[in-house]
């Protein structure tokens, strides 16, 4: 892939119009030309800027993983299946309110609320689901606001466009809950800060979510609308294999759909994504297979370590050890996603040296393809 930065025309040609767009929102609302709308990135007018930040920060344009890794960790890209990790543990919230609303252990809500309360951040950007089950970005300034965003929606949400809408001169320190693609985009921004947008230095905390794939919120939402009374739906869940189900919980109980029925709504870009555990976040959070009500927590950076210490000191989380079998499974799943992504990418380009957005050394690629 060409190292030279390009503009929105190339963004459309190389990413948006060829099914690679992850709808992360990094390119949207930063200028009058690109906006996110109902699951699509829309070009309102032509922009002929030759080097556009829309292209530069897209997680699906060329990304040198070593460069990003140096920026975040001060070291080259780790070949560990889970990326650079300082500590692995499991946790759940001590707060019953949070646990009630949470998908699993309520760790993301707890961490972000504490960061807010302790003054690490002034506001947080998260995805919130409306009563109609449409996710959209939300800027929370207090714990209640964060709590409203608890729960997994499984749909892609262009939260990063909210980042672009924040005033350039705002002094607010921000926390973001992000998908792996969005974390990658934020890391690209930190590596080469944007102009005429929010000061990226203000982003103090990035909590990443584990992700195997995301659903296109326009088509999936339509499917939900046709099959459920949406305002009655409380939450969704994908139980661990071998269940192969997509559970919809409503006031009248639980309905299990075959997972295969949902696969058609998976965004095409997810087949090309190598990152299951949000490898460049401060802290990455996911479920614990087979253990209800707990989260797997990967602490990656000093910021993550400090926050975790604080949370333990304030007794906001109950901490535990991830069973070795779970860890093995997690690593296996993460590796599988990397291998699958590489295979799909090489199938698409027809050339092992052309890896679309992945700037990965040949030796690393070879080792992964073994």
């Amino acid at each position: 892939m060409d190292m030279k930065a390009k503009g929105c025309r190339e963004l459309l040609e190389e990413v948006i119009d060829v099914g690679l767009c992850a709808y992360c929102g990094a390119c949207a609302s930063g200028c009058p030309y690109l906006v996110s709308y109902k699951g699509r990135i829309v070009l309102l007018d032509n922009c002929d800027v030759s080097e556009g930040q829309c292209y530069q920060y897209c997680p699906r344009t060329h990304t040198d993983l070593n460069t990003i890794s140096q920026q975040v960790f001060g070291a080259d890209y780790s070949e560990d299946e889970l990326g650079t990790v300082k500590e692995v543990l499991i946790a759940r919230s001590m707060d019953s309110h949070i646990r009630e609303r949470a998908q699993y252990g309520g760790v993301v809500t707890t961490l972000m609320s504490l960061a807010l309360e302790e003054g690490y951040i002034d506001s947080a950007i998260l995805a919130k689901m409306s009563n109609d089950k449409i996710p959209s970005a939300f800027l929370a300034r207090n714990k209640e606001g964060i709590l409203q965003c608890a729960g997994s929606n499984y749909m892609a949400c262009s939260t990063l466009d909210t980042l672009n809408l924040i005033a350039k001169d705002s002094k607010d320190r921000l926390g973001i809950v992000a998908m792996p693609c969005q974390v990658l985009s934020i890391s690209k921004m930190k590596e080469d800060p944007p102009q005429n947008r929010v000061n990226i230095e203000n982003v103090k905390l990035v909590i990443g979510l584990f992700c195997t794939w995301a659903l296109c919120h326009d088509t999936f939402q339509r499917f939900l609308r046709e099959n459920f009374a949406l305002t009655q739906v409380i939450k969704f869940d994908i139980p661990p294999p071998p269940a192969n189900k997509f559970d919809v919980y409503s006031n009248s109980g639980k309905i299990s759909l075959p997972l295969d029925n949902i696969r058609e709504f998976i965004m095409p870009t997810c087949s090309y994504c190598f990152d299951m555990t949000a490898e460049f976040a401060d802290i990455s959070v996911g479920s614990v297979e087979g253990v209800e009500g707990w989260n797997t927590v990967l602490i990656r950076t000093d910021v993550g370590v400090e926050l975790m210490e604080r949370v333990k000191a304030k007794k906001k989380l109950e901490i535990g050890q991830l069973p070795s079998q779970n860890l093995a499974h997690l690593k296996e799943a993460a590796l599988l996603k990397k291998k699958r992504a590489l295979k799909e990418i090489i199938k698409k380009t027809g050339d092992k040296k052309k890896l679309l957005y992945l700037g990965m050394s040949e030796s690393v690629v070879d080792r992964l393809l073994v």
Partner: protein, 644 residues
């Protein structure tokens, strides 16, 4: 401005051709005038309407040209001399009535003035309306300057009564919009009394003059009327010849081309070699008179706009000359010497004569010519744009965004008016079709009924407020009745703006300046069963949201009335700007990523200009009208408005 109602015969005024026609109608003693705005005819009614009350005549802006002609005919039937005026497209609209009228004859003198637009300077097509006279057997007159426009109009009323048929005066943009010295004639002082001959006789139905048949028989009668017209034309004062008895070249010309010819011949100093035969009565042509001119030369050049109308008539005549007549060579549109499209300029005629006479001519010094040609390359073009403050700019911006967001390849069916600029940069290239008045909704009807063929694209039709009353209502009814699916945007700026801000049934004012009922558009649309919304296009977010909502809904005809007054009308009335607007250069990021000067590069209001040296946008205070819309466009908030 011009005082055409002055009772001062023998005095001279500088009048537009259109004002002269109005004066001619007054001198003919008309009592009734009807019209619909259309360039280059509008000033005829503008002038008559402004003095109607004082002169005791009825002058109205009708809802469209068909009704205008019908109304004028009604007055004529009841014994009042009447005039109907319209542009070329207007006569198209009036055609069905017009041809029926030729069957029945008229009451008192009835004249139709049609103003063509050669070069389509202000039209969506180019046509030569004289052909209608040939088609419908209507006597035709073409004035060649303002004085003649007045004199011909007066004379035409007498002709019309003598022949008992409608007569047509064909003007063009260069006649109607050219000011010239006009010597005024007498204004008749007589009382007018209207009465309709209320006759029906079972034994002689032809006495019910305006309804009877048999029509083929009446058609034959019409031919006889035309034969009589031809007789009259042989001695009409509007046909003349100037030049030598025998000429090397005979030019036959009419209308606005006349002065191009006389000037060309004078410029080339060939008045002793070239004769000019000017025809003012061009259908039917006075054959004897024409034949006489044809004997002056064997080379004949036809100079006329736009079609080879006289050319063909004369060729037809020439084909029937006695076999021993000298062979004539014709030059004109058939031979390719004169273009059969576009406007004629004196330079074209000069070049033709130069070519035919085998001489050389230099319009100006050669060095100067070369320099001028070179320098003309650096002058930027001036594309048409909407006025600063125009509500249509906001409408097109909202439409553009809504169609992009919707993402299903939706498009706009455009129509006639200022918003016709929707196809250009000023309208963000939104319009995809444009034909006649009301065609936007008409075409949308068809497009909106193709679902069974897999059609999924949202269709948006446009019309203005005046256009709505003129032609769109039937298309809207059709859409509701025949279950089509489209969104109709009525761009209600409370004026017939493009043609000069004439009133219409929605404005609450008549042409003569009297208060009138203001027809409520939304109530009318509601009563048809269409879904109706009203919004201010300047509220961009709201307007875009409404459009998106309606596009997402499946089925039916939806009307959105984009209501905001035309900026020129508002400015004239209020004589102040709502805001003072300026660009803060410290906040403006110009061409940088994040903006790339969207205000001047894309939004393109003429009030915003680009300072290339500073790399910043600026407000041009000589152009900006302080509407404040651009404030919404700037992503940095660099454009600031302060209420005045």
């Amino acid at each position: 401005m011009a005082s055409i109602e002055l009772d001062a015969p023998g005095t001279t005024q500088l009048l537009l051709g259109n004002e002269a026609i109005a004066r001619g109608a007054l001198e003919a003693g008309i009592g009734f005038a009807a019209s619909y705005p259309g360039t280059p005819a509008s000033e005829i009614m503008d002038t008559l309407a402004s003095i109607a009350k004082g002169m005791g005549i009825h002058a109205e802006w009708s809802v469209n040209e068909k009704v205008a002609l019908e109304a004028a005919a009604g007055a004529s039937f009841a014994g009042i001399r009447a005039i109907a005026s319209m542009k070329q497209n207007g006569i198209n609209v009036a055609c069905d009535f017009l041809i029926n009228l030729t069957m029945t004859g008229i009451g008192k003198g009835l004249i139709l003035v049609v103003a063509d637009d050669p070069g389509a300077i202000s039209s969506s097509n180019e046509q030569d309306s004289r052909n209608i006279c040939k088609w419908m057997n209507i006597p035709l007159l073409e004035p060649s300057n303002a004085q003649e426009a007045k004199d011909m109009t007066k004379w035409a009323f007498e002709l019309s009564e003598e022949l008992d048929t409608i007569c047509i005066i064909r003007s063009v943009n260069r006649i109607g919009h050219t000011r010239g010295n006009v010597k005024l004639g007498e204004l008749p002082k007589r009382e007018q009394r209207a009465y309709f001959p209320n006759i029906w006789n079972m034994f002689d139905p032809t006495l019910s003059k305006f309804a009877a048949g048999p029509f083929p028989w009446l058609h034959n009668m019409l031919h006889q009327k035309l034969a009589k017209a031809q007789q009259r034309f042989e001695s009409a004062p509007f046909n003349w010849y100037v030049g030598p008895d025998k000429a090397e070249l005979l030019i036959i010309t009419s209308g606005a081309s006349t002065s191009c010819c006389t000037e060309a011949v004078k410029e080339l100093k060939l008045d002793h070699k070239i004769g000019i035969f000017k025809l003012g009565t061009t259908w039917p042509i006075p054959e004897n008179l024409v034949e006489k001119q044809l004997s002056r030369s064997q080379k004949v050049l036809f100079v006329e706009e736009v079609d080879p109308f006289i050319e063909r008539s004369v060729m037809e005549l020439a084909a029937n000359l006695p076999p021993d007549s000298p062979r004539l060579v014709f030059y004109g549109k058939r031979s390719g010497h004169i273009p059969s499209y576009g406007e004629l300029h004196p330079d074209v005629v000069i070049n033709m004569i130069v070519d035919l006479m085998g001489i050389t001519y230099q319009a100006r010094d050669i060095t100067y010519e070369k320099k001028a040609k070179e320098l003309s390359m650096i002058i930027p073009g001036r594309a048409l744009n909407l006025c600063p403050g125009c509500p249509h700019r906001a409408t097109f911006w909202a439409v553009k965004n809504a169609l992009q967001l919707d993402g299903r390849d939706g498009f706009v069916c455009g129509d006639i008016g200022c918003y016709a600029l929707g196809f250009a940069a000023g309208g963000y290239y939104q319009s995809r079709t444009m034909h006649a008045m009301g065609s936007g909704a008409g075409v949308a009807n068809g497009l909106g009924n193709l679902i069974q063929f897999g059609f999924e694209q949202p269709v948006i039709a446009l019309c203005g407020d005046s256009t709505f009353f003129h032609a769109t209502i039937p298309a809207l009814i059709n859409g509701v009745y025949n279950k089509s699916n489209f969104i109709l945007l009525i761009l209600d700026n409370n004026a017939t703006a493009m043609t000069g801000f004439q009133p219409h049934p929605g404005t609450g004012m008549t042409g003569a300046g009297e208060q009138a009922i203001s027809i409520n558009m939304e109530a009318l649309c509601h009563s048809l069963g269409a879904h109706v919304e009203v919004c201010d296009p300047f509220e961009l977010e709201n307007t875009t949201a409404i459009l998106l909502k309606l596009m997402a809904e499946v089925g039916g005809v939806k009307v959105v009335i984009m209501r905001r007054e035309c900026e020129m009308v508002r400015a004239k009335r209020e004589k102040r700007f709502p805001y003072v607007v300026h660009v803060d250069p410290d906040i403006c990021i110009g061409e940088a990523c994040g903006c790339n000067r969207v205000c001047t590069r894309v939004f393109q209001c003429p009030g915003l200009i680009w300072d290339r040296e500073a790399g910043k946008s600026k407000i041009d205070e000589a152009v900006c009208t302080g509407c404040g819309l651009c404030v919404e466009i700037c992503p940095e908030g660099a454009i600031i408005k302060k209420a005045t």
